[in-house]
């Protein structure tokens, strides 16, 4: 069982995820996706699980950036416990969506912030 503080921050991340466009779109369309029948129920479940997992991780990154200000990839990795490569990938995806932006440089690393 996870400790209260860790769970609280994960719940905050879940809140971020459920407020985001991607999960909300999925919530609205998943019945249609299932009804169209192009994907098997297992595939639909996998798709939803993967998207939810990704969005939870992104929610964690966003809530860290929102609370702690501009952070670098190693700092985010330390705070979230996620691998640096995965954080970088999430940051690039979120930059494309305009959810995060490059704030400037902290030492040798670029720092990211929520616009």
């Amino acid at each position: 069982m996870k400790m209260g503080e860790e769970l609280r921050s994960l719940l905050k991340a879940a809140r971020e995820a459920f407020s985001g466009e991607r999960v909300r779109w999925l919530l609205g369309r998943s019945r249609h996706i299932a009804e169209v029948g192009k994907l098997s129920p297992g595939e639909v479940r996998d798709l939803i699980t993967n998207i939810l997992r990704e969005e939870l991780e992104r929610g964690r990154i966003i809530s860290e950036l929102r609370e702690e200000g501009p952070l670098t990839v190693p700092e985010l990795a330390e705070r979230t416990g996620l691998p640096k490569r995965r954080i970088m990938w999430h940051l690039i995806c979120m930059m494309k969506e305009g959810r995060v932006s490059v704030w400037g440089k902290k030492g040798d690393y670029y720092a990211f912030s929520v616009p």
């Binding site: 769970l7 019945r31 699980t49």
Partner: protein
């Protein structure tokens, strides 16, 4: 002493349950349970919403974040929704919420979706009893403020 303290703690634990009830069926069912003088645990705090489909997953997550030990979402039986398919939307969301709770490490059994019609006062009381027992067995939420 340890056993006694443990038993005492278990006995002392009274879960806090938040129930979102739809106006047209479940809330009327809860009302019927009350007017019929059917006893059910006082652990539940009922929030009336116009439709179970009105309940955003964020409401559920927020209830847990604020320390609810269990969250119950009740709506009309499928096919009886006042807004045609609000309850089916709620059902889909409930699946996501359970997956999300599992993912973050909170027992998904702490959240439950049930259908209660306006005539099911007895069923409502029974559900509250059952759910209170389930949450009691799970123990206090790690997010509960002491």
């Amino acid at each position: 002493m340890g056993e006694e303290a443990g038993r005492g703690g278990e006995e002392a634990f009274e879960p806090l349950i938040v129930a979102f009830c739809c106006n047209w069926c479940s809330y009327a069912g809860a009302d019927l349970a009350g007017t019929s003088r059917i006893e059910y645990p006082t652990n539940v705090r009922i929030i009336r919403v116009m439709c179970s489909g009105r309940v955003d997953p964020i409401f559920i997550l927020e209830a847990f974040r604020r320390g609810a030990d269990g969250v119950l979402l009740t709506g009309c039986h499928p096919g009886d929704c006042h807004y045609i398919d609000g309850n089916l939307k709620a059902e889909m969301r409930a699946r996501y919420i359970k997956m999300c709770l599992e993912e973050i490490g909170l027992e998904p059994e702490r959240f439950r979706l049930e259908w209660i019609s306006a005539s099911e006062g007895v069923r409502f009381a029974q559900l509250i009893k059952e759910f209170t027992d389930t949450v009691k067995k799970l123990g206090p939420s790690p997010l509960r403020r002491r």
